[in-house]
């Protein structure tokens, strides 16, 4: 069903979007989502700000520590970004210029990590290169250490964000008019000078935009830094977490949160400026005309080697995880020494047992149930709040143009900061498991709104007018026209919310009750405990989470309308 084809050729501004809404009904529609944002975001944010202004926050010691942490955060983010660029640029060139077998599969593979929960990525690297990992077991090098190093953090960041470079720079590259390069060649420029004087300047906006975006993600990264680096590599995010849970100092945590927020807002502004510039193309061409096959022998070898490198880099951690979850690699219970190798399902079985003295008070598999329940609640809540907001945003007036950046603000805020805000504002309710879906909804809502909004805006206004002239009341129009047409977008938005809730780590770690752990929280606890069995259970849990997430991603890709859910 191609809804787009129903669009009239004589489109005017008023032709699309919901039936012209009066100001009172707009305010009515905004009531629920806006109250939610105030209660769940702006009030907690104000508590953080107030705490920062407290005399306890701005001490010399705090400021010194904060600047040290800020400096390190910048340092690791810069290193990560540069290394991401090193892998991402040739990869972008590969995807934009070469045609090879399995290309779309490889592209999907490089995009996969970006959508996976951080704990899954961390667990994957641990399963491959950690002290109990596959590589370490089969190639025992005495001096080899990966987990707990800056290298691990940076490699995981590269793994995560290379897809951004491939996407932004690759798209710009493939829509570049190849005749410009041909013209430069015919004017006597050699390939390197073409690259330097023609290709690179044309790509600069896309390059800068992707650079800022990668930097932003590296800057705010939490799960990877905590799980692969450990607390000695304290970035702003990790330090906030430590100052909330491990070495409580809430004024300091608040101060760090504000610094973090200011930085992310600045980067976001920078990004949107570059991003708008990168969309201006002089003469966009279809990507097809730029593609070619390898010609010379040397080119063939270089391209094949790079494809191999890229494939291994992305496939190894992701496949190490499920393999390790079925691979016994420790002594039997109660026995010392005598490490036994082999296939086992024990790690999965163990998840169903409530052992005394374990890190949980319940069988660990309950975490899966908790996660699914929280995810379900998040889906319901974010759709309930997302629909009215998306409905008015699809036909924006000045009210919506003012509100829009505000409801996107949680997107730029760090998850750990959201968790801190919840603790400061609703500490008394921390015993209630209801707080978690609220925090997850806050993270998911911008995505849900950005998925629904273009779909709602794409419904021709005349369909609603036709229904209305046939006797359908506004409610019946909504029920019979909007809702059925939006089914796909609703499914996509709901799955987005579901996936985000499943993988959410930072905020959940701060506010989840010990007896109601989610899957990511359970994985973190397993990883922080000694013993092969705990480790194996972390692998099993992470594998379950990976499968759930991949299934959701496949569903989104199937149902989503092209262009929706992008920022």
């Amino acid at each position: 069903m191609e809804i787009g084809k129903q669009v009239s050729k004589r489109t005017s501004l008023s032709t699309f979007g919901p039936v012209s809404l009066s100001t009172p009904s707009r305010i009515l529609l905004w009531l629920l989502p806006l109250s939610f944002f105030i209660v769940a975001f702006f009030y907690p944010l104000s508590r953080i700000l107030i705490l920062t202004l407290d005399a306890d926050a701005l001490t010399t010691g705090h400021i010194l520590l904060a600047s040290r942490v800020l400096l390190f955060t910048f340092y690791q983010a810069t290193l990560s970004t540069l290394l991401t660029l090193l892998l991402g640029l040739p990869a972008a060139y590969l995807f934009a210029r070469y045609d090879f077998r399995g290309k779309s599969l490889l592209r999907a593979l490089t995009a996969l990590p970006f959508m996976l929960p951080t704990v899954v990525v961390a667990a994957g690297f641990s399963a491959l290169l950690g002290p109990r990992g596959l590589f370490t077991t089969f190639f025992p090098l005495p001096s080899f250490q990966f987990i707990g190093t800056l290298t691990a953090i940076i490699i995981a960041h590269v793994f995560y964000n290379t897809t951004i470079i491939i996407r932004l720079v690759g798209n710009a590259l493939s829509s570049l008019d190849p005749r410009l390069e041909a013209a430069a060649r015919s004017l006597g420029a050699n390939p390197y000078r073409v690259l330097w004087h023609v290709t690179f300047p044309l790509l600069r906006p896309a390059l800068l935009a992707s650079l800022v975006l990668v930097f932003l993600f590296d800057f705010t990264s939490f799960g990877v830094v905590l799980l692969l680096g450990g607390s000695q590599f304290a970035t702003l995010e990790v330090e906030i977490y430590l100052r909330v849970l491990r070495l409580p100092d809430l004024p300091l945590a608040a101060l760090l949160s504000v610094i973090q927020l200011v930085c992310t807002i600045l980067f976001s502004i920078l990004y949107s400026r570059f991003a708008t510039r990168s969309t201006i193309q002089t003469n966009p061409r279809s990507a097809q005309s730029n593609l070619r096959k390898t010609k010379t022998r040397r080119e063939k070898i270089v391209v094949a080697a790079f494809i191999f490198l890229l494939t291994s880099f992305f496939i190894l951690p992701l496949s190490a995880l499920p393999i390790r979850s079925f691979f016994r690699l420790e002594a039997d219970r109660g026995q010392r020494g005598g490490v036994q190798y082999g296939f086992t399902t024990d790690y999965y079985k163990e998840l169903f047992i409530n052992r005394r003295g374990s890190v949980f008070y319940v069988p660990p598999i309950r975490a899966t149930g908790n996660s699914l329940a929280y995810a379900g609640g998040t889906v319901l809540l974010s759709l309930l709040l997302g629909f009215p907001a998306a409905f008015t945003l699809a036909q924006p007036t000045r009210l919506e143009r003012i509100l829009d950046p505000f409801i996107m603000l949680p997107l730029g805020s760090s998850a750990v900061m959201l968790g801190l805000g919840f603790i400061l504002s609703y500490g008394a309710w921390l015993t209630s498991p209801l707080l978690v879906p609220f925090a997850h909804t806050l993270v998911a809502l911008p995505f849900v709104i950005r998925t629904l909004q273009p779909a709602i805006a794409s419904i021709p206004q005349r369909l609603r007018q036709a229904a209305s002239s046939l006797g359908a009341s506004p409610l019946e129009v909504w029920k019979n026209i909007d809702l059925p047409i939006l089914r796909r977008a609703t499914l996509a938005a709901g799955t987005f919310a579901f996936t985000i809730s499943l993988g959410e780590f930072g905020a959940t770690l701060l506010i989840a009750r010990p007896e109601y752990p989610t899957i990511p929280v359970a994985i973190e606890r397993f990883l922080s405990q000694p013993g092969g069995l705990n480790y194996g259970q972390a692998m099993a849990m992470a594998t379950i989470l990976m499968l759930l997430t991949v299934a959701s991603i496949l569903l989104i890709e199937r149902v989503r309308i092209p262009g929706a859910g992008e920022f």
Partner: protein, 336 residues
Amino acid sequence: MLEVHHVYKSYEGKPLLQDISFKVEKGETVCLLGASGSGKSTLLRIIAGLEDADSGSVSFDGHDLTATPAHLRDFGLVFQDYALFPHLSVSENVAFGLKMRRLPQNEISERVAHSLEIVNLRGFERRQVTDLSGGEQQRIALARALATRPRLLMFDEPLGALDRTLREDLLNQLRSILHRTNIPAIYVTHDQEEAFAVADRILILHGGKIVRDGAPAEVWANAESAFVARFLGLGNVFKGEVRGKQDGERWKVDSRFGMFIVPCAHSHTEGDPVQLLVRPNVVDEGSNIIQGIVTDVIFQQDRFKVSLDNGLYFYLSQAPKMGERIEVFVKVECLG
């Protein structure tokens, strides 16, 4: 009977409709004819209740509809781009209005079948609307509007997206359906041929006002203004100046094409500026003669369109030579 009283509407500060009043009698088809941007579609949406007028009112059979929302007005509406619901089948589309009225299922099926019968699309019930051709889609849209047996049918450029032959064919069907069902109708178009073919009465909209209101033949015979004459393409329109009375209701009028004797019921005084219309069909004899050098001759089936160096054009039965100086007898009309 539909009555529109003194409707005003402005858009972003600019007046779009100014004091529009007219009636549509029972069984009558009224055509709103105007260039794009003349406000005719807005007027239609105001009548349908999809938009509010700044002032003025719409009433039907004496009942004021200002407070009645669109879905309770019982006016059928057919759009240029059909606006068929893409997620519903043909029969579900046609049944939509009936379901909204909560009619019993057997009556719905009966009426759907009947409506599809009227537009000659029986057997299309289970088809997807997205699989149909443009002409078929438009007939389904018409069937959908007819099924509810509305008090008034409204058409917003219904044939605008179709090609010429299909348009003529559908226009004939539409006229006979309107005639048979006796439903009063308002038909909005910018195409004068379409308007003249379908309408019992034509309203020409210009600058937010109704500049001409009459039966097609009447409007054709008496344009009454230079704008209408130009808009309908009635012939050569140019300025003149009254030089005095000839006799009775005939006036002497000077222009850059010569002095003419023009019949006109209005009273003029010497020096009055007037607009003149010279239709391209020449007459056998008379007092008004126009001369010129032939610059272009186009063959048009049963006649030749001849353009002269002074910018005027005429239809002649025989082709003159290029560059030849010719003289023709013409009828000159006064447009006031």
